[in-house]
């Protein structure tokens, strides 16, 4: 009897689902029924965002009011970048539309796009002008044109280090190349809502490049271990001679009142590396808030494109003591001599302590191992 009832209910639900599917189900199945008629400014922006989420570039481009001002490839480049970067494989996770102003024929709206990437989410924002066109509304897309670097030859003669390690056939006791000498020059634990955060700075004291990592172990007062964590990507792993990197290690759910000591474990390995590219961090300005952040521009001084850049900033108080370490990936590639904006968020409760900061850029270029 129960089996018969279950079978009947299954058939009924299948019929209902087929005849009247919920919009979200259609959307996730690849359909477009989330799109509504663009009868309002909000609906026009919503429809555009849905097309962007589905990477339906042609639909999105065709829906724009000002599409005559640029080509579809330019629009796609604006969304995905014209060079390998975090944007290339980013997926639009969700979006938010905020109306700013509206009249009978036009409206101003802010579209906040939240993208997901392999290194975490990032958010972009565009202020949109939406115009009425007969019985429907369409978006004037504020295209950000990707500058192209003029053809040229840029001589690069920075140093490059290659490493030859001892071979398996060498005699016992044969000399090998030493790991680089590194030193933690600053360390500061803080208690945060997410747990204990151990921050600091690491110096490569040697004359050769180092691949570095830092791990920390929280110890109770009786010496037993509470937890061990590593800095993961909150550190510049490749350090040139005399270069300093900040690091940050998070211990989720740890209570600093239980911590009696912290054992730091910096590790270094000698690696092949290049002193190129050099990235200048220009016009850094700290905004204490609300919405505290450090913003500025990255300028690639070299001829090699930096595909992924990670900005790491150490914030100090007026006594020069470390207050916070923050990082932010840059979603666009750094083309030679082409500044790209960045913003590093700072916890609002710490912002009033910040007096100075020091920023470095950890970078990745396709074709380079490091």
């Amino acid at each position: 009897m129960l089996a018969l009832l279950m079978a009947v209910l299954t058939v009924v639900f299948l019929v209902i689902g087929t005849l009247s599917p919920v919009p979200a189900a259609v959307y996730y199945a690849g359909g477009k029924n989330l799109l509504r008629a663009s009868s309002t400014p909000q609906a026009a922006v919503d429809n555009l965002a849905v097309d962007l989420k589905q990477r339906a570039w042609e639909n999105a481009y065709n829906s724009l009011a000002n599409k005559a001002e640029f080509t579809e490839p330019q629009f796609v480049q604006d969304m995905t970048g014209n060079t390998l970067s975090l944007r290339t494989f980013a997926d639009l996770e969700n979006y938010e539309v905020r109306p700013l102003h509206a009249s009978a024929d036009d409206a101003e709206m802010t579209l906040k796009l939240r993208w997901s990437t392999v290194v975490g989410p990032f958010e972009t924002s565009r202020d949109l002008h939406v115009v009425r066109n007969g019985d429907h509304w369409a978006v004037d897309w504020p295209l950000v044109k990707i500058p192209s670097v003029p053809p040229q030859v840029i001589p690069v003669n920075y140093l490059r280090w290659d490493v030859i390690y001892r071979g398996p056939g060498d005699e016992w006791g044969a000399q090998d190349v030493q790991s680089p000498r590194i030193r933690i020059v600053d360390m500061h634990p803080v208690s945060r809502a997410e747990g204990v955060v151990v921050m600091g700075e690491l110096l490569n004291e040697d004359i050769v490049p180092a691949y570095v990592t830092v791990s920390a172990t929280l110890l109770r007062k009786d010496g037993s271990a509470i937890a061990r964590e590593g800095s993961f990507d909150m550190i510049a792993h490749t350090l040139l001679p005399k270069q300093v990197t900040p690091f940050s290690i998070v211990f989720p759910n740890a209570d600093i009142s239980e911590v009696g000591a912290i054992h730091m474990d910096p590790q270094s390995v000698l690696v092949s590396a290049s002193a190129d590219p050099v990235v200048e961090i220009q016009n850094q300005k700290f905004d204490p808030g609300p919405g505290a952040s450090l913003s500025g521009q990255l300028s690639n001084q070299s001829g090699q494109t930096v595909n992924i850049a990670h900005v790491l900033t150490t914030f100090y108080n007026k006594n020069g003591q470390l207050v916070w370490v923050a990082g932010q990936y840059v979603d666009r590639a750094l083309l030679p001599q082409t500044p790209v904006d960045f913003t590093v968020p700072v916890p609002q409760d710490l912002a009033k302590q910040v007096s100075t900061e020091r920023t470095i850029v950890s970078n990745y270029s396709s074709g380079n191992s490091l």
Binding site: W161, I207, L240, N283, Q284, E357
Partner: protein
Amino acid sequence: MIAKKAGRLLGIALALAPLAGAQNSNMTVPATIEAGSAFSIPTTGSGQGVLYIVGPAQALRRDVQLGVAVQFAAGDLYNAGHYVALLVEGSSTDTAQFDVTPKSQPDTLSFFAEPSRVPVGLHNGISGTVYAFDTYHNLITSPLSVSFQLAGISGTPLARTVTTRDGVAWTAIDSASKQGSAKFIVQANGITTTRVIAEVPGDPCGLTISAHPDGQNLTVETAPIHDCSGNPIPDGTVVTFTESYNGMQSTVDVPVKQDVARVDMPAHPGATISVASGVVAGNEIRWGGGR
């Protein structure tokens, strides 16, 4: 393979050992034998027997005519250690023990020199440890005089003589004040082994910058950078330039090239430009809006 064979023979020896006692034969084994040297084991009695020699890493078996000395040629027994000899004749076994000692003359010196790079002027910054081995790779445990010598590109070589203890000798030597590749040589009984130690510059000393206008930019460059002993800082060393202006800041990490680090930065009137390398800070200059 040898150890497996030795283990098997040791098993035989242990099985035969309880039978020792009802001896019709006998042997005379030297108390010590130098590794690799020829030796003989005289036996008494008559008839045929089997002689086993079992050690930690080597085992020998000989069919013997009792009453005749058993001859071992040079190189037959070469692994140093404590050995058991068993002469088996029918149901009787004669056992004896002896030591094989390393040769007194070293053949190879395994030399551990640390580190491969060391800053100049570091007290006891270079350490050397030597293990002396004979021709058959036995560690020579008898005292042996070993000399260490560190020869840089300039100055008098530093030399030490150390006697090995339990086969090991070590020393620590200060690094020189001048950069360059130093030869760290160890010598014992005419055997020499050499390692190369890179004596490298220390931290920058007296880091100073100057700036001059270049169009809309300032070219900021350091004076030739040296450590406190006057050694030039190697290429690739990172120097950080920081320009502060109107509540904003620009920074750039620049590698040293041919003793100098150089960068172009925007020329902001009233800007303050500072320099640092690692934990060493340099001077600070203020750009006065023009010159």
